[in-house]
Symmetry: C2
Amino acid sequence: MVLKSFVEVHLDSHFPIQNLPYGVFKPHPSSASRPGVAIGDYVLDLSEIASAGLFDGPLLNNSDCFHQPNLNKFVSLGRTAWKEARATLQKLLSATEPTLRDNANLRQKSLVPTNTVELLLPVAIGDYTDFFSSLHHTKNCGAIFVGPQAPVLPNWFHLPVAYHGRASSVVISGTDIVRPRGQAHPIGDTPPPFGPSSKLDFELEMATIVGPGNELGKPVDINNAADHIFGVVLMNDWSARDIQAWEYIPLGPFLGKNFGTTISPWIVTLEALEPFTCDAPKQDPPPLPYLSEKESKNYDISLEVRIKPVGHRDSCVVTRSNLKHLYWTLTQQLAHHTVNGCNLRPGDLLGTGTISGPEPDSLGCLLELTWNGQNPLSLNGETRRFLEDGDEVTSTGYCQGDGYKVGFGTCTGKVVPSPS
Amino acid sequence: MVLKSFVEVHLDSHFPIQNLPYGVFKPHPSSASRPGVAIGDYVLDLSEIASAGLFDGPLLNNSDCFHQPNLNKFVSLGRTAWKEARATLQKLLSATEPTLRDNANLRQKSLVPTNTVELLLPVAIGDYTDFFSSLHHTKNCGAIFVGPQAPVLPNWFHLPVAYHGRASSVVISGTDIVRPRGQAHPIGDTPPPFGPSSKLDFELEMATIVGPGNELGKPVDINNAADHIFGVVLMNDWSARDIQAWEYIPLGPFLGKNFGTTISPWIVTLEALEPFTCDAPKQDPPPLPYLSEKESKNYDISLEVRIKPVGHRDSCVVTRSNLKHLYWTLTQQLAHHTVNGCNLRPGDLLGTGTISGPEPDSLGCLLELTWNGQNPLSLNGETRRFLEDGDEVTSTGYCQGDGYKVGFGTCTGKVVPSPS
């Protein structure tokens, strides 16, 4: 028998009582930001639930973590507190529990239609790191930039390659993305061309939200790494391929990436994802001991990206992929990040890198889908090599349960022209 | 006639009344953090000066910017407010002004001996970026890793190359640095060796502290870039060369850098540095218009690094360099960073990259000084290829005025062993 909420939840909703993802919202433009969880088409205002004294477990009953403008304090509390909150909320929202169901006043205050609220970044992100963990993406990038025989770089199978991104330009789903200007590779002896990027791309990614951090100089053991992960969001790591290709040697991506990174508003917790674990790919060569896990798991999350050109009524699916295609696991990424003593802080964002699958229609960015512009995509009568001004890119993802979905909602952004 | 303070300041002090650098401190371990300025061997407590109503200019008289735990609010206010604060403080501390000089009670509360306080990070750093702006360093790195005929990479003369570093592991001078563990390049077909870095290095750098930021999507014009720079600190961007060499292709430095970055506690303002400007190097090829400045200037800041091995009484100078050796200016770095629309925030940290000069004894890191370990340095009877546990590395810098110095104090850190 599937657990049900007294709040009506459509069968295809991403937010049934089995999910309960966390976000931050303002009920009115003038109100203070506060934490909430999504249930069907509503947001449950956790500040109201806390004020009503309904978080009555031992860890949360005197906590002010739901009276904060972001989730950083809550995510810092760790898995025992997260489980306590989940148990409280699942009970409170269940069809058989009268406390909230039968209290019209509290329902009125605490259950807010999602389409009336403003959703904000769920955490203050101290640092944002992006990994490069899909073998298919890695192979395709090599083939595109070096040639079809390009080998995977020798370090790639030994460590989850990553770079630091920019925290300041991580934005919430729905924020417009201004087309970046920059330098591209010169042709011959001319100076580098400068102007709006002509190779603007999306990258289909997901990202870990870090829970409790670690002290500087104190690595996290791989077998404890899951306890440092609060949950997962969708991410679009917008990329200007022309800027990136010219600037990135030898220190990596910079202006080709840091003009904007979009995340979805709802953090789906590892507890909600637990039924959807699957085996991680076999790693050969075997990872070094600090990356060897007692239990190595991925999550089976169906992913999809749509593009809607300006003036079109309908969007067009351009790729379907799955988080399970990642070679390096989320826990390996986190353990590797700290093995040198680097400290993570609650709310840090760890991107997976572009999630490409093995099939031609499961590639996670236009660079791969159009093979660097050589094979344009068809979008309801238009073609695309890279993104055009006005294009709206939306990624989405969900896990299919038995009679319900645990979904991530959407992660969307529209490209607007460069400043003149 | 040189301006003098009623506070006694030795001739060789870094902190005369001409300097007045800003920091954050706790007078007692249990007190709240608050802003201060250094004057001789004292810290002037700006929260006390503000409480006494002595910031009486139009921008600061009702501001709470000096009742904050860091300088972010003050640096966000912009140059007019900074000039007002400087005028107020120079007058208040001058030998001829009785307000503070003759008020024993206020002096007692507000002038605290520096050796009794705890100095903290002066700003909350949202993002930390590191540039690569010394041509000598760039050429030497190429020669070491590729060979003596290695050309400078083609993008280097067209843009200030940079990468994103890690904000969480930026620490204040005096913090121990735990030797990082990590993977190094495998030899032959063996797995990569793993363990404490055997090529731990310092990097002599300075760094800009960003004042007012810019909105996402709104680049800063090169000729306004100086108004976004509050001041400058010393920085040591500790680097594990073995970890870095193995991991950095294709996405740049990551674990080889993010285990720790040390900055000095006192932010020297651009106003204090103004008398020490000098012409920037002629740039050939000429920079693109967005990097072309009406007035292109560097600062003549003498820099020095010393190493003190464990058990030694004396430290040994290992290099002497100067900020003026940089090819790209601080304003070019900042304008480039935002040209794609990337937003900077008050308190962001922009490192210059290793500051190497043209002479063999002006190189800014051990990688260059020992030519990747081939030519060990002599330190009072010991030799060093790279840093050993217990080594204390201290950088310092100053501008020589006529009868005074405008100095940066010291930026120091001791290497401690890896966790077992």
